[in-house]
Symmetry: C2
Subunit: 337 residues, 2 copies
């Protein structure tokens, strides 16, 4: 079993690589080789595994060679993020649309030259959904909600979903699209993303720092741990076509939670003095962006594959704490022992 | 007012050109120049008008020059048809996806260089809708039906709709997408399209020839005259953004009609001896394809622009007869005077 992860040095990509190496197999076959492509090198811990090969550089410059290289499964995670795509339209088109098209065409050319069909998992996003003045945004976004993206990122993800579906229908690839929800708690530092606070309001207090909450306590949003998203990507890769019931895309389960519930869970897990490090300070720009996001998801198709959201936000916080104890205990210095 | 029609020598494109020349204005401004691009030259009658300029050749080779040429309105009708796209995947990608992307990027580059925003009307299709094993196909396809194309043609049309919406949201163009329904009665000869019989069963009997009906009388489908589709494209071009209520795409109205009703109307308009020239001879391949098509549309958004379907199928037949009297009386030689 030879697997490719594009974006394999990123947060989700490197965690997916770790999990695949740990389980040592996919689709019941031993993992012999794991190729990670990305703009940067993957973490040393991954490189230390003799099954791992890293290829650093833009995906677009690497895909043509894939015509001549067999992979059993490709996880296509490489992507410019939402804020980048809004700021630099051509970057988004190139990184998200042209790169995916080139990847699909390389896999198609292989199939047309007689190679086995490659299984491809495309990481899409709930950014394909957006409110639209002509259409009421449903309280819960389901598998049958009309995608109406309101960002270039969401548009490009949706277009790629439809390309994957059509290349699959034609038999060029065996493609599947998993829509990721907002991953929390992301380690590291706050970034420019409007969703950054969903991690900050847990991560910074646990590290003994203050965090700013830029939205109201009543804001609701679906969130998930990175490990559950990794589990979802693997489950989608392993699903039979019958289990996908004739459609390629599905939304991975998220826990539908309010900010108030997130902070209550933080207090329950870490105590009131940790929660007290979150300062409410409304930011109209961020509040406005977040108001356009889905408030909740229902992932019927993913649940049919056995996937479930976290039970509650305490579970998500404990998952992050366990992860920090393993990787970076410094990140917990605000937590009483 | 300078207007471009891509696919301007085709059936719908040349009728649109005729209508624009006849009305002499668009958006209240006199039509000074009408450029028609297509793979073939437009009809002589169009070329005779001094406002018309024809450019023959692939659209993809012509679009780069559009960066330097101002158009007030572009009707983008050029497209490979459904059967071609299924038979030749790369042709579909090139003709329907790459050409549209290149056109949009030329108009974007103009805007980014300081030119006025170009208004663009993209002719999409109800082929964006398709049944899907995971989702019941609604009896009536409305503006809020989840598009799930089951052909490469429909996929490419849907992708272009989302590109148009995003380029519009970013302010690069002022784009709109009109989904055309099946046009009937098309003049000329039967072609390889599965929808060909929707025209044949009226056109051939009126010409004194027999026609084969390959599906059951109970089959239902939305149809419209070419003149109503032309009227729809012009109305969409002239609509304010406010009238489009924040969304780019809409389905043009079609008359939801059964084959039985079509034949009853043929008898009512032309007599039983004309209807008797239609021979029922089920073709499983065609019946199977047609079973995957929308049975009816509801065009709430188009109706809000004042557009209406034909009242009944007799109106559609009479429209065709009037058109033949003007252009090709020979096509009516099976009709008693």
């Amino acid at each position: 079993m030879k697997v490719l992860i594009t974006g394999g040095a990123g947060f989700v990509g490197s965690r997916l690589a770790e999990q695949l190496l740990r389980q040592g197999q996919l689709l019941g076959r031993p993992l012999a080789q794991l190729v990670l492509t990305d703009q940067v090198a993957p973490p040393d811990a991954l490189l230390a595994d003799r099954r791992v090969q890293a290829r650093v550089g833009p995906l677009l410059s690497q895909v043509d060679a894939l015509v001549h290289e067999p992979f059993d499964v490709v996880f296509h995670l490489a992507s410019a993020v939402s804020g980048e795509c809004e700021a630099d339209f051509e970057l988004g088109l190139r990184s998200n649309l042209d790169s995916t098209r080139a990847l699909l065409d390389a896999l198609r050319t292989r199939q047309q030259q007689g190679a086995d069909v490659t299984r491809l998992v495309f990481s899409s996003s709930i950014a394909v959904f957006g409110p639209d003045p002509a259409y009421p945004f449903p309280a819960v976004v389901g598998d049958d909600t009309l995608p109406m993206p309101q960002t270039s990122y969401g548009t490009q993800k949706l277009i790629c979903e439809h390309l994957v579906a059509d290349y699959t229908r034609k038999g060029f690839i065996d493609g599947r699209c998993a829509r990721l929800v907002t991953v929390t708690v992301r380690p590291g530092r706050p970034n420019g993303a409007a969703s950054s606070f969903f991690s900050s309001i847990v991560r910074e207090p646990l590290a003994g720092e203050t965090a700013v909450l830029p939205v109201d306590l009543s804001v609701r949003h679906p969130v998930a741990t990175v490990s559950s998203m990794v589990q979802g990507l693997i489950a989608v890769a392993q699903a039979s076509r019958e289990a996908l019931v004739g459609r390629s895309a599905l939304t991975l389960p998220g826990l539908n939670v309010s900010v108030a519930e997130m902070l209550d869970a933080l207090e329950a897990v870490a105590g009131p003095q940790v929660r007290a490090r979150v300062l409410q300070q409304r930011d109209e720009r961020i509040a406005g962006i977040v108001a356009n996001w889905p408030q909740a998801v229902r992932s019927t198709r993913a649940e049919a594959l056995g996937l479930q959201p976290a039970q509650d936000f305490s579970e998500i916080i404990r998952d992050y704490i366990d992860d920090c104890r393993l990787r970076n205990p410094q990140a917990l210095k605000g937590l009483n022992p």
